[in-house]
């Protein structure tokens, strides 16, 4: 075993004993996720919360990306399948969801691999020990949802 429990406990306790490092290089946090069959990174600042094993209730909808609705901290949010929005096949069964920070919308992930802390100068792609992969631009995704909703609404009004 690489680490034992006492080592972990000591490391945890040490963080409180050590002084705060103000002069450290600024970093950004990312979520290491999988959409469809490809890995992506999502800025943590674009996310209001990460959830798992939420019950998604299917609703009748003409939008293929709308997987249903789910409850998050007492509020009901629509859940959109990122894989469908990104042009992949529907995710099917997945237990990982993120709620976006700017809109009350939940996005269904195909998988969640972990947390990434990278230097702040990262723009479009991230480089990790597992490889180089793109950063998901959440506002664009939300624009896409909105565009589809408006198209659908327009069609409905006509």
């Amino acid at each position: 075993m690489a680490l034992d429990a006492p080592t972990l406990a000591r490391a945890f306790d040490r963080t409180f004993a050590e002084p705060q490092q103000n002069g450290a290089a600024p970093t950004d946090d990312f979520l290491d996720v999988r959409i469809g069959t490809d890995p992506y990174a999502i800025r943590l600042s674009d996310v209001a919360g990460l959830f798992a094993d939420k019950v998604i209730t299917r609703v009748p909808t003409p939008l293929p990306a709308l997987a249903g609705t789910a409850g998050f901290r007492g509020a009901i949010r629509p859940v959109y399948d990122l894989a469908v929005l990104m042009g992949y096949a529907p995710t099917g069964s997945s237990r990982w969801l993120v709620v976006t920070a700017v809109e009350p919308v939940a996005l269904l992930l195909s998988g969640f691999e972990g947390h990434l802390r990278l230097p702040r100068d990262v723009r479009d792609v991230v480089q990790t020990p597992r490889g180089v992969y793109p950063i998901l631009h959440v506002p664009s995704v939300l624009d896409t949802i909105k565009r589809q909703l408006s198209q659908h609404t327009g069609q409905k009004e006509r």
């Binding site: 075993m1 690489a2 680490l3 972990l8 490391a11 945890f12 963080t15 409180f16 705060q20 946090d29 979520l31 943590l44 600042s45 996310v47 209001a48 919360g49 990460l50 959830f51 798992a52 920070a101 972990g114 947390h115 802390r117």
Partner: protein
């Protein structure tokens, strides 16, 4: 007759010849006998005639002496008279005896006897008259012709007797001559016929025998040629047989050596079998011990399997706990990330909380990594346990199989023990049999040597037979040449 044997034919020829000779001899004998009888009867008749002549002669002598005495008165002249008187009586008796077979002559002699007595008495009376009365009365007596009449009667009676005898003589002479002629005829005809018959028989026998003997000799010749060929083959065969016998004798000697080696080998096999039986018994005990050890191993293996299954169960429980730990770590991670998000939203006030959340997230990451490793290790342990259980079960099965094998080995060892005992007995029997065989082979060798000697003798005798057959062929040719010159 064609089927008759040589001796039969010759015997038949001699028998026919002998029969003819016997017939001729018998007929000749009978004829000669009849001739002799006829001659005897003729001689008898001559004797009777001689006796009658002698009787008359004595009467004449007596009368002559009487007349000489009458004339001379001299007694010397009476000598013929005296001798004649006795002779007349003896001659008459002789005639009676000679004519005893003829009653007629006997009656005539009976009639002659008183006449003779009367004549003798007349002569005696005349002589007495002369002696007493002298010449004159005697002369008158003579002149009275009494004496002459008596003499005439006597001559007449004797003449009748003589005629009768003459008649008999002629008859008997004729019969004798007839018998002689018959004898001559029979002897001549019989001799000629016999000679002819013997010649014919001889010719027939000679012809038959020469053809028969010739055929037989030809058979003998061909048979002797075949015999020669056979003897030749026999000689060759005997030579080959002699060679084969030598080879057999050599082979039997080698066989004898081999048999002795087999006997020694059988003895060694018996010893080795005894040692093997001992080793099998030792192996039997070892196998029993090993079987007990195997049973102990089996029990230990069962214990190991039980412990391993228990270890698997514990590992499964650890896995379940680890699932909870892993889930806790994941939830902690989610919470830490969400805390980070919330801290970022709190601005400056949430900065230290962000640090704590970050440490909690790191801790959760590490716990997640550790649980992954533990899971891997648990899986390894469970896999190892499964592998160990399977291996142990395999080992258990192997132990069971080993136990069964040991049972089989034990049974096999016991069977080996039994078989080795049988083998020992068989090896001993083989040894004894082989010794007997060696003795028998020695006897066979001696017998073969004798046979080889006999074969050599047979070879020699075959050569002699061949030589004899060749001589027989030559002899048969010579014989055929003798019997049938034209065929030879």
């Amino acid at each position: 007759m064609r089927e008759w044997t040589f001796g039969k034919k010759v015997g038949a020829g001699f028998a026919v010849a002998s029969l003819i000779l016997a017939i001729v001899a018998l007929v000749g004998y009978l004829s000669v006998d009849q001739l002799i009888e006829s001659n005897r009867l003729v001689t008898h008749t001559h004797e009777v005639l001689g006796g009658l002549d002698k009787l008359l002669l004595r009467l004449v002598d007596a009368e002559t002496g009487e007349r000489g005495y009458i004339i001379t008165g001299n007694d010397a002249y009476l000598e013929p008279y005296r001798s004649a008187a006795d002779e007349i009586k003896r001659t008459l008796d002789e005639l009676r005896r000679l004519t005893a077979d003829s009653p007629v002559q006997q009656r005539r002699l009976d009639a002659l006897s008183p006449m003779l007595d009367a004549k003798v008495n007349q002569l005696a009376a005349t002589i007495e008259l002369r002696r007493t009365g002298g010449l004159e009365p005697a002369s008158r007596e003579v002149a009275s012709h009494l004496g002459k009449n008596l003499m005439d009667q006597l001559r007449g009676a004797v003449g009748e007797l003589k005629r009768e005898e003459e008649s008999l003589r002629a008859d008997r002479k004729g019969r004798a001559e007839s018998s002689a002629q018959t004898t001559k005829l029979i002897v001549s005809v019989g001799t000629i016929g016999g000679v002819l018959l013997i010649a014919v028989m001889g010719w027939l026998i000679t012809t038959s025998l020469s053809s028969q003997i010739g055929a037989a000799v030809q058979h003998v010749q061909s048979s002797s040629a075949e015999l020669q060929t056979a003897a030749n083959q026999q000689a060759t065969g005997a030579k080959e047989q002699s060679t084969a016998m030598n080879e057999i004798s050599t082979t039997i000697s080698e066989l004898l050596v081999t048999t002795r080696q087999i006997a020694e080998s059988a003895q060694r096999v018996a010893q080795i079998a005894e040692q093997t039986a001992s080793a099998a018994a030792s192996g039997d005990r070892t196998v029993v011990t090993a079987r007990e050890s195997i049973a102990a191993i089996r029990r230990q293996v069962d214990l190991v399997v039980g412990h391993m299954l228990e270890l698997g169960g514990k590992s499964q429980q650890i896995g379940a706990v680890l699932d909870i730990v892993s889930e806790l770590a994941e939830q902690t991670n989610i919470l830490a990330i969400n805390a980070t998000i919330e801290a970022a939203g709190a601005g400056e006030a949430g900065q230290r909380f962000a640090v704590v959340a970050d440490e909690i997230r790191k801790l959760a990451d590490r716990v997640a990594g550790s649980t992954k490793e533990i899971r891997t290790l648990i899986n390894d342990v469970r896999s190892a346990v499964n592998t160990t259980v399977m291996a142990t079960e395999t080992g258990s099965k192997a132990v069971d199989a080993g136990g069964k094998r040991f049972e089989e080995v034990l049974a096999a060892l016991q069977q080996i023990g039994g078989l080795v005992t049988t083998t020992t007995e068989a090896a001993r029997e083989i040894g004894l049999s082989t010794k007997q065989q060696a003795t028998a082979v020695e006897q066979v060798n001696v017998a073969i040597t004798n046979v080889a000697q006999t074969t050599r003798e047979t070879e020699a005798s075959s050569g002699q037979t061949l030589q004899t057959a060749s001589q027989l062929t030559l002899l048969s040719k010579d014989l055929l040449r003798l019997v049938q010159p034209q065929a030879a």
